[in-house]
Amino acid sequence: MTALPERIERKLGLVIDLDTCVGCHACVISCKGWNTENYGAPLSDMDAYGADPVGTFLNRVHSYEIQPEGGGCAQTVHFPKSCLHCEDAPCVTVCPTGASYKRAEDGIVLVNEDACIGCGLCAWACPYGAREMDQAEGVMKKCTLCVDRIYNENLEEVDRVPACVRTCPAGARHFGDLGDPDSAVSQLVAERGGFDLMPEQGTKPVNKYLPPRPKDRLTGGVATAPVLPTERRDATGFLAWLDRTLEKI
């Protein structure tokens, strides 16, 4: 049923630290790796070795250059983006078949691929570009929050987090219950001033982003360390003779 659940018990989601992300794209690759082998149809690539490859990905890292207001050094921000598992998910209610749904128990937005007709309307309704149609299968693919990892008792406990979170070498991705104000992720959001993407769309995203710290400003004076005087040491003895002889040649 594509009506949104009235009450969501837990709001599982991600917190992405834009201050820490180094833009290595490891989360993109681990996401593609895990999700191609597990939940649903594999994430296909078309013309993978040709001139114009196109593929399905559930997570993408944009990189932006920001010129701060009032001058100062420009800043590079790496910006990972995947499904935000919105509370008011517009992608769910537009689905004509009931394939797209939001789970009441943990708030994860999923696609039942056996019911998806591939009309693409959910991708139109998503402001964030979180859904991509798989061109081989003709069904809509999206982040599952690694629903097949987080409850998977066959995995070590440390691995029961989304693949992107597990793989991030910078610790820029955090996973937890954003509906519980005492959870580590909620504390992090409160502490660091986590924010929503495109709040004016009214989607109420569960995933939050933590802002990058502003770059240090120069407070006058010399920008570089003082230049040290180069020490001149004249050679003596044999080395002095060698030096002179070599000069003459």
Binding site: E65, P96, G98, C119, W124, A125, M133, G138, E200
Partner: protein, 291 residues
């Protein structure tokens, strides 16, 4: 938005077909053989349009599931509305063609359902907050106006066809003008998209090639081309067919007026998709400045 031919064909043809069915239900229908040709044309356009819409589905074999979610989904409601309309009008058509009788109440119900179907189709687009150009009550107004104009011309209702043709031009221009600024008015820009402050530009795309998002939502039409097409559209959708009908109310004039008008609706519908910008473009560094 990518102007997919199947979706343009679907909205234009089914719009004209349901518009014609509305007029047939409200008294434009003949009986016997003339009625057969009238209904054949109306059903060919309405059903042909619906069939062409199936071609853009990834898995059309599961299409029947689309009837299940009418409580929330406009696309599902469209399935129901079109099937209900076609069934009611089929009974009406059989009665007119084979029994020479026109059941008036059935006709009124069929006509109301025909207009409702066009409305529901338009709501698939009008509901999209992510495409500010479409997200307005003007979208259903424009769809219904196009459908009724085509219906009036096809049913040779001279005065009404002329009034609708003359009204459609200004309505179309108004839709364009109010749509042009709506993206910026809604406050969507790269800052709101990323939550970052300052002047933002995309430093590196997330992928070196293209992807589904850019193919579907990255379409951009050159502004000078759009301006030319708008002029061509107004001439075809409104001015030329109106002049044709003013010259004479002959069946050939109605045929010519319909051909010109339908071509105009095709241009208009192409622009409807091609000029519409999806907010996801902001993540790819395409600012709201362009219309």
């Amino acid at each position: 938005m990518h102007p997919a031919p199947s979706v343009i064909l679907f909205t234009v043809l089914s719009g004209a077909g349901f518009g014609y069915l509305a007029f047939l239900g409200l008294g434009a229908a003949s009986t016997g053989w003339p009625a057969f040709w009238q209904f054949a044309l109306a059903f060919a356009m309405a059903v042909g349009g619906l069939v062409s819409s199936v071609f853009h589905l990834g898995n059309p074999q599961r299409g029947l599931l689309a009837f299940t979610q009418w409580r929330t989904s406009w696309l599902s409601r469209e399935g129901w509305a079109s099937v209900a309309t076609l069934l009611i009008m089929a009974v009406f058509a059989i009665s007119a063609i084979f029994f020479g009788s026109i059941p008036p109440i059935l006709g009124v119900i069929g006509a109301a359902l025909s207009v409702a179907t066009v409305f529901v189709t338009s709501m698939i687009y009008a509901q999209m907050k992510t495409v500010p150009r479409w997200n307005s009550p003007l979208t259903p107004t424009y769809f219904i106006a196009c459908a009724l104009t085509a219906g009036a011309i096809l049913s040779a209702t001279w005065s009404l066809a002329l009034i609708l043709l003359i009204a459609l031009g200004p309505l179309q221009v108004f839709c364009w003008m109010s749509g042009d600024g709506r993206f910026a008015q809604r406050g969507h820009d790269m800052n709101s998209a990323t939550g970052l402050h300052g002047q933002i530009r995309m430093f590196e795309s997330p992928h070196s090639g293209t992807n589904y998002l850019l193919q579907e939502f990255g379409f951009q039409v050159a502004r000078r081309h759009a301006a030319k097409l708008r002029v061509i559209c107004i001439c075809l959708i409104s001015v030329l067919p109106a002049i044709t009908l003013l010259i004479g109310a002959h069946p050939i004039a109605f045929g010519l007026a319909f051909a010109l008008h339908l071509l105009g609706v095709f241009v208009s519908r192409w622009l409807f998709f091609a000029e519409a910008r999806h907010v996801v473009q902001l993540y790819y560094g395409r600012e709201a400045a362009a219309a």
